[in-house]
Amino acid sequence: MANPMTSELKRRAPLTLLAGLLALLPVLPVPEFWITQLNYIGLYALVVIGLVLLTGVAGLTSFGQAAFVGLGAYGSAWLTLNWGVSPWLTVFAALAITALAALLLGWITLRMSGHYLPLATIAWCLGLYYLFGNLEMLGKYDGLLGIPPIVFFGLPLNTGRSFFYLLWALVLLAALAAVRLLDSRSGRALRALRGGSTMPEAMGIDTFRAKVTAFVLAALLAGLSGWLFAHFQRSVNPSPFGLKMGIEYLFMAVIGGVGHVWGALAGAAVVKLMEDQLQVLLPRLLGGSGSYEVIVFGILLVLVLQHARDGLWAAIEARLPRRVRRRDWADAPPLDEAPRPPHGEVVLDVQAVRKAFGGLVAVNDVSFQVRAGEIVGLIGPNGAGKSTTFNLVSGVLPLTRGEVRLRGERIDGLPSRGIARRGVSRTFQHVKMIPGMTVLENVALGAHRRGRRGVLAAMLRLERGEERRLLREAERQLQRVGLAAQQDELAGNLALGPQRLMEIARALCADPSLLLLDEPAAGLRHQEKRALAGVLRQLRAEGLSILLVEHDMDLVMDISDRIVVMEFGTQLMQGTPAEVQASEAVRAAYLGTEH
């Protein structure tokens, strides 16, 4: 195994090299043309980094980032021109305006299916473009002229070379901040959004808020780019903020590799350089004049999505040594644990719950209790309503009527996030995980609600103390289920059995008082099942309550204290494993009756 220190160095080498090269470029006799090119690439890359967070990480997208660039640019330009405010102050105003606009747009569209946001951003980008072009105060289509340059300690950054430093320092900082964010508690929450909201909500993550966060972050980076643009160009007009540019930003992200922060830089560079070549070449080739490059861009975009959806950076990434997480959490203090309910107290009280899908009653007035330090098995033939009952208890589905109480408090009607926060943790019948994250990171997702530090702290690496505690807890739970050796493996590479164990570790990470396990033994080998039974017994001994849906009768009968049997949505009986095994009715439900 490679030494983590050297591999870390190797991984940092390209970035250090890039930073060094960029720092040297302006003092070398590089033609002004290339400095200008690099400045544009940097301005684009800032926006594209935001799009990577939004599209590649959170699974949302926007064609209207150009509009946010425009808001930042016009906002700062107008304020410096009309009020004579320094650009160092207007940057805050510019960012505030973009953030407000993004909040409004996100708040309206992000509650709905994923395709409404991009549609809204198209309309928004067009609307804003026409607004910029028609407002008297913004100079209509001529725009605003004579914008002052940014002054850095008395030095006006009015040449391409001086501006270069400020711009690229910000680009590299933004990229670094994004990389750091993705490797944190908040980052994991963002990365969990792509697979739908059921799993992250069950981990106590407010997915709506996470989506708005991603959208606002992307908008802020675009606004920052706009601020720089206005004071670099020294004039603004509506044309660089139109929908064409908005789509080109997305094109850069896709070409570079929409899931990779550094791909944003690669994509911005490739597209900008290609655009320049095409703008010269194509009119010569095709005759006439106009932006024919969009033909090539459009076709290329479709081809990339068809044949190389991971973009350029995926090819580069494959050549870099894989990052092995340095294990620095061994001495981190353990996370606080909630007091366990006293042994024997009723933890879960399900009273006559019913779920009707139209005319079909999937769960018909089912009642049962789970006490602290007790394993209750929920069994029944396929289609008996077990998983639906599970989803009613965990808040994934709203119930039609009945009551669910957790330690006396009513939890029916609460969103699954709220139920998770009250100490109910679950696994899924069909494993829901983030295949591109390591096993350890997936498990740490379960501890989400036990941490507090947010996006800003993650970007500044102020949350490392808490992060170490979270990772220590994740490792501890992985050791418990016997998966510690695979913690640095990508979750998608695990076989089904270990994936289920990983889900259990993730659920345990939440420090639950009630654990809901949906077919945890499906796909496990015999040895693994025995190990699982051992883990569950130990958890029971620690005072945890467990509700278990399982088809493996040996396992259920072996470890359950009591068993609830369901058939066709109704409760057939409940009792000890021995009583259930002796019951004629249960036998009839599973095997049919003799005639």
Partner: protein
């Protein structure tokens, strides 16, 4: 504003609303069947109007070459696929013939007809014959290889297709705008209102098309197959319905409706190579009224967009696009309160 102006604006809005309604219906149809948010719909509007404009001038429109090229590309892809799968040569030839026959015939016909300046109705039919097959070809080339991708990926593909088709529009038709001659120059007075023949044609064709679509989906096997695909792709496939076939059909319908809309509004507005995009987007705003799912909702939304636009251009003409496109926000807000959170997976 007095009543007669209001009447004129209302009539104006209804006219454009009728066209938006057609486009919105096509968008809802394509989304239901293929999960594709069909941004390039508007390009077919421009292609329809401008192809006719070229024919009017006795020139061969570039869309003809696009049709031929795309058909060749599709044929090449089919051939590669057939060779990989080891299909029999007879089957391959039959498939190639099916892909190439219509485009070849239309190309030859267009080459013959273009310099002859045929009467307007014949040129219109030729335009429809050129633009409509572009729809299935776009599906074959851009979307079919990604048919199982997420809505988001398909949407990005749509934007790519929109880019390519807009750029090609610029190449084919130049940056100049064109206004087509009216199909019917008659004018009728209705009190203070003047109803032009073209307006009547727009109303009648829209109505006929909506009834036609209703019959198609309600009465024909092909239409029912499309509806089945919209409800459940896998289920439809199990019943022997080709989802790729359904995709091609739906985009063919969309291209036909787009081109027809282009012919209808060609005489009432000056069309540029990129005008179609804005018109198509207004169709989208309308379709979103119905949540991209309801046909009557989309039609009602289209009328509303039409009125909003005509009254908007009367009160604040510079801001009419701003008004129409920002209208999408309150509509989305209203829909999100109506339906609450919805999960996408």
């Amino acid at each position: 504003m007095d009543l007669s102006i209001a009447g004129i604006l209302l009539l104006d809005g209804t006219t454009s609303g009728a066209v938006y309604a057609l486009l919105a219906l096509a968008l809802v149809l394509v989304f239901a069947v293929t999960r594709v948010i069909f941004i390039p719909q508007g390009e077919f509007v421009a292609y329809g109007a401008l192809t006719l404009a070229m024919l009017q001038m006795g020139k061969l429109p570039g869309t003809v070459w696009l049709l031929a090229l795309m058909a060749l590309a599709a044929a090449a892809l089919d051939a590669v696929h057939a060779l990989r799968e080891g299909h029999r040569p007879a089957r391959l030839l039959r498939n190639l013939a099916a892909t190439l026959a219509w485009p070849a015939a239309v190309t030859l016909l267009a080459c013959w007809a273009a310099p002859r300046q045929l009467p307007l109705p014949l040129q219109s039919l030729l335009t429809l014959a050129i633009v409509t097959p572009l729809g299935p070809l776009v599906y074959r080339l851009a979307y079919q290889p990604l048919a199982d991708a997420s809505v988001l990926v398909l949407l990005i593909v749509s934007v790519g297709v929109h880019f390519a088709l807009t750029g090609l529009g610029l190449l084919f038709f130049g940056a100049e705008g064109f206004r087509n001659p009216s199909f019917w120059d008659e004018r009728f007075s209705l009190g203070p209102l003047v109803l032009s023949g073209q307006t009547l044609i727009i109303f009648m064709v829209s109505a006929a098309l909506i009834v036609g679509l209703w019959l198609f989906f309600g009465r024909t096997l092909r239409g029912k197959a499309l509806r089945a695909t919209a409800v459940n792709r896998l289920g439809a496939r199990l019943m022997g319905i080709s989802t790729d076939g359904a995709g091609r059909w739906s985009m063919g319908l969309a291209a036909f409706i787009g081109a027809l809309s282009g012919l209808l509004i060609g005489p009432t507005t000056t069309m540029f190579y990129d005008t179609g995009f804005l018109i198509g987007l207004k169709g989208f705003v309308a379709a979103i009224f119905g949540g991209l799912a309801s046909y009557p909702g989309a039609a009602a939304g289209a009328l509303f967009v039409g009125w909003l636009e005509s009254f908007g251009s009367f009160w604040a003409s510079a801001y009419k696009e701003v008004i129409v496109f920002t209208m999408i926000l309150p509509v989305l807000l209203w829909r999100s309160f109506l339906h609450g959170e919805s999960d996408d997976e």
